[in-house]
């Protein structure tokens, strides 16, 4: 009994030490009048940690950059940004719990957080009931528009719609039939519903779709379905998640489903980070669609990649989710400075209409709390990056998708009290 109590005490001390170290601040130099503490909430343990920790790194970097440039200036005073990092542990209820902690206990004016749609859906009621503000940086399925969330990732019309259009009209497999593959959860299913509606409008055919349960890597039945549905090659739209892509691409290559035999895969969840994990030899010749790609040849993009490598190591890469995370910190800072206060409601008003020269090009916050963005289609090359083939102009975000049967004809506008979350166009 005594021993176990001692172990308990030891554990308690250890966990205290961990919490203490995780509550570190930003940079140290400079003279500031005051400090403001923001919340960062991503998974640092569990299955999502690999992806989400890159966002924490990017957000820290953005905060350090802002601090080095004099911090946030509100009402003639300069504030140094400090941050509290909380671990969502890849567990959706934990995200809600930690959000409550950050809002109630730490009193942070803003939380940057989330990756999976499931974590966002778990956090949403917390932010709405406490009237707090969450900044969410991931490309997602949309069909949601909360007054208490600011979405900096792409909506389907800023990623999958231009990509489907490209595949059907201008890719080497143009005019071919479509096969849709995804992991079995909300994003792939919603995204594919939209894709099916769009392919129908374009006059094409979706000849099959299948979903792999999360964690399952047995793709043999899917391969035989693809071969049966597309015997002469065609277009495959892939919304598989994480590691399932490795199994998928390894096995389809062995089964002869390759660009050289007429099968072209368009991917919505494979960025530079994933290419290096899967191996470019399996992905070369397939496509991806994103707002930001590391190969964008502009000074802003190069600077972003360079400072990230300088801060976190030369072998690191930057990808679209990180760019979104980077943008949202800067947009928050601009909105606070314009509002002249950290108060949520004033910041929310000031946020709409904010413009920022992002690494992907200019972005602007729209009344539906999403960003206007540029869409790029890239071919994956042997070096593990994208060769950019096409670039759209600025595309406005649709929180309610205009091709999805359940949301056609609806939009969202938080600047007009009579319109709000969902109004008929």
């Amino acid at each position: 009994m005594r021993i176990s109590r001692r172990i308990l005490a030891g554990l308690a001390t250890a966990s205290l030490a961990v919490t203490a170290t995780s509550c570190g601040g930003g940079g140290t130099s400079g003279s500031f009048d005051d400090t403001v503490t923001v919340g960062i909430l991503h998974s640092l343990s569990g299955t999502m940690a690999i992806s989400e920790s890159t966002l924490v790194d990017t957000e820290k970097m953005a905060i350090e950059e802002i601090n080095a440039a004099g911090g946030v200036k509100v009402g003639g005073k300069s504030y140094k940004i400090e941050y509290i990092v909380e671990d969502g542990a890849s567990d959706w209820p934990t995200f809600a719990e930690k959000s409550k902690k950050l809002i109630d206990q730490d009193g942070v004016p803003v939380v940057f957080g989330g990756w999976t749609s499931a974590s966002r859906k778990a956090m949403l009621p917390v932010y709405e009931s406490k009237d707090a503000f969450l900044y969410y940086p991931i490309q997602y399925e949309a069909q949601e528009c909360s007054n208490n969330i600011f979405y900096t990732g792409a909506t389907p019309n800023q990623q999958s719609e231009p990509a489907t259009d490209f595949m059907y009209k201008r890719s080497p497999a143009a005019g071919g039939d479509f096969f849709l593959v995804g992991s079995d959860y909300v994003f792939p299913r919603t995204s594919n519903t939209i894709t099916k509606a769009q392919v129908k409008q374009l006059g094409g055919n979706v000849v099959g779709e299948d979903y792999l349960p999360l964690g399952n890597t047995e793709v043999a039945p899917i391969i035989s379905k693809i071969k049966k549905a597309l015997p002469e090659g065609g277009i495959i739209i892939n919304t598989l998640n994480g590691d399932q892509n490795v199994a998928f691409f390894k096995q389809i290559q062995d089964a002869g489903i390759t660009p050289s035999s007429g099968y072209y895969v368009m991917n919505y969840s494979i960025a530079e980070e994933e290419i290096s994990t899967i191996g470019p030899e399996f992905l070369e010749g397939h496509y991806g669609a994103w707002n930001y790609m590391m190969s964008i040849d502009t000074p802003a993009s190069k600077k972003f990649a360079k400072s990230f490598k300088k801060r976190w190591g030369a072998d690191r890469v930057v990808a679209d989710p990180q760019e979104s995370a980077y943008n949202m910190v800067y947009l928050w800072k601009q909105a606070v400075e314009d509002a002249g206060t950290f108060d949520d409601n004033a910041v929310r008003k000031a946020l709409v209409g904010q413009k920022f020269d992002a690494p992907q090009g200019p972005v602007e916050v729209m009344p539906n709390h999403h960003l206007s963005q540029t869409v790029r289609i890239g071919e994956i090359n042997a070096e593990g990056g994208f060769t950019i083939l096409e670039e759209t102009g600025v595309v406005l975000p649709q929180a309610w998708n205009q091709k999805h049967p359940s949301s056609k004809g609806f939009a969202c506008d938080w600047t007009d009290p009579s319109k709000g979350e969902k109004y008929k166009l």
């Binding site: 792999l212 399952n216 043999a220 039945p221 379905k225 590691d243 062995d254 002869g256 994990t277």
Partner: protein, 384 residues
């Protein structure tokens, strides 16, 4: 004909992955009655062994033999997982025989520890640790009897531990300095690339088969044959079967049940390692790779009948063929003009997720009628 062949091959391909994964569990759970939830993590160690072997074979000295690394890694994976399994048996499971609930919880804890271990320890030092464990466990057993009986044996034993620790640290740092990819801990999934002779496909009777799948089928076949021969033909196999049937009686007749337990558990764990090699050819290698298979493994063993290897073989191929028939919607192409309600139902289940639901349901129904599985164990053990 082609359709049938295709379906059969796919079913066997899916089934062989299940079989190779479940084979070790069929021994550990089937013969010994140990519910080993860390079985998946022993597979994961096998998969990581393949990865480490692959990187070591990329070193200039071993580069000429690169194409054969996968064969070498099968044996290494067997040894690595076997050693970790033996250690697990010696330290934890031995103390919990006869209390299945505690075993279940303890092995689940071990599985979490192993997952976190590969996340936070550089693989080079992990390899070093396994090597030192191997030496420490086996070096004392090869001492001549004379030394073992002497009073100074404990000093010899102590010095083997020191020797083992030193070798482990040395190989760890050697690997870490020569292969930079292994010198840092990372939670990121890694990738095993099959050697060039195993990529692509072969043509048999007009249909094409991926070579990696054929390789997995071959690995499975060899494992099944080897383990059947071992259990039925060798002296130790006979002892294992004797202990399975009646532990007390075997003990009375002079069989060292303790040794039998170690060997059985070691072989079961080693086979999990071999399964890890097979699995690494299909997908990526990560801390969670084994956890994805554990449910399937138990399902196969229970369906086949606990304590019967033949049952495990039939169960896994049965599930494999059913998965392909339902999941790929093949019934529709065999019988194209079936009545509409029936074809709609089949279409509904013709996705990977729904096929799984259907197979689970079928197994549950089957077990209602035959609760002991396809080939139930007969004999004394069943009676008590």
């Amino acid at each position: 004909m082609e359709l049938l062949l295709d379906s059969l091959f796919n079913g066997v391909a899916i089934g062989s992955v299940l079989l190779v994964a479940a084979l070790g569990l069929a021994i550990v759970f089937g013969l010994m009655g140990v519910i080993n939830l860390a079985h998946g993590e022993l597979m994961m160690l096998g998969a990581y062994t393949t990865y480490v072997t692959q990187l070591i074979f990329k070193l200039p000295i071993l580069k000429p033999f690169y194409n054969s690394y996968i064969i070498v890694s099968i044996f290494l994976a067997f040894i690595v997982s076997g050693v970790v399994g033996i250690l697990l048996e010696k330290t934890i499971i031995r103390k919990l025989y006869g209390s299945p609930l505690e075993t279940l919880l303890a092995t689940w804890g071990v599985s979490l520890i192993l997952q976190q271990f590969v996340r936070s320890v550089p693989l080079a030092y992990g390899t070093g640790l396994v090597i030192s464990l191997l030496i420490a466990l086996f070096l004392p057993t090869i001492f001549p009897l004379k030394i073992k009986e002497s009073i100074n044996f404990k000093y010899y034993k102590f010095s083997t531990w020191i020797f083992a620790a030193l070798t482990g640290v040395l190989t760890g740092s050697l690997i870490s300095s020569s292969v930079s990819k292994l010198s840092r801990a990372s939670a990121r999934n890694v990738d095993v690339t099959a050697p060039s002779w195993m990529r692509g496909q072969v043509e048999i009777i007009g249909t094409t088969f991926p070579k990696t799948r054929l390789m997995i089928i071959v690995i499975t076949l060899i494992s099944v044959i080897a383990i059947t021969l071992f259990l039925n033909q060798s002296a130790w196999g006979m002892r294992i079967r004797a202990v399975t049937q009646n532990r007390q009686m075997s003990d009375c007749l002079g069989i060292s049940t303790e040794k039998v337990d170690i060997i059985t558990f070691g072989i079961g764990s080693g086979l999990a390692g071999v399964a890890g090699v097979a699995v690494s050819l299909l997908g990526s290698v990560g801390p969670n790779v084994g956890g994805n298979y554990i449910v399937g493994c138990f399902m196969v063993v229970v369906l086949g009948g606990v304590g019967n290897l033949l049952g495990t073989v039939f169960a896994s191929f049965g599930i494999g063929i059913m998965t392909d028939l339902i999941g790929a919607g093949r019934l529709l192409s065999i019988w194209p003009d079936m009545p509409l309600p029936l074809s709609n139902t089949i279409n509904f289940f013709a996705t990977t997720s729904m096929a799984r639901v259907m197979i689970f349901a079928l197994i549950v129904i089957f077990l209602q009628f035959k609760p002991t599985g396809l080939f139930p164990q007969k004999g004394r053990m069943v009676e008590n």
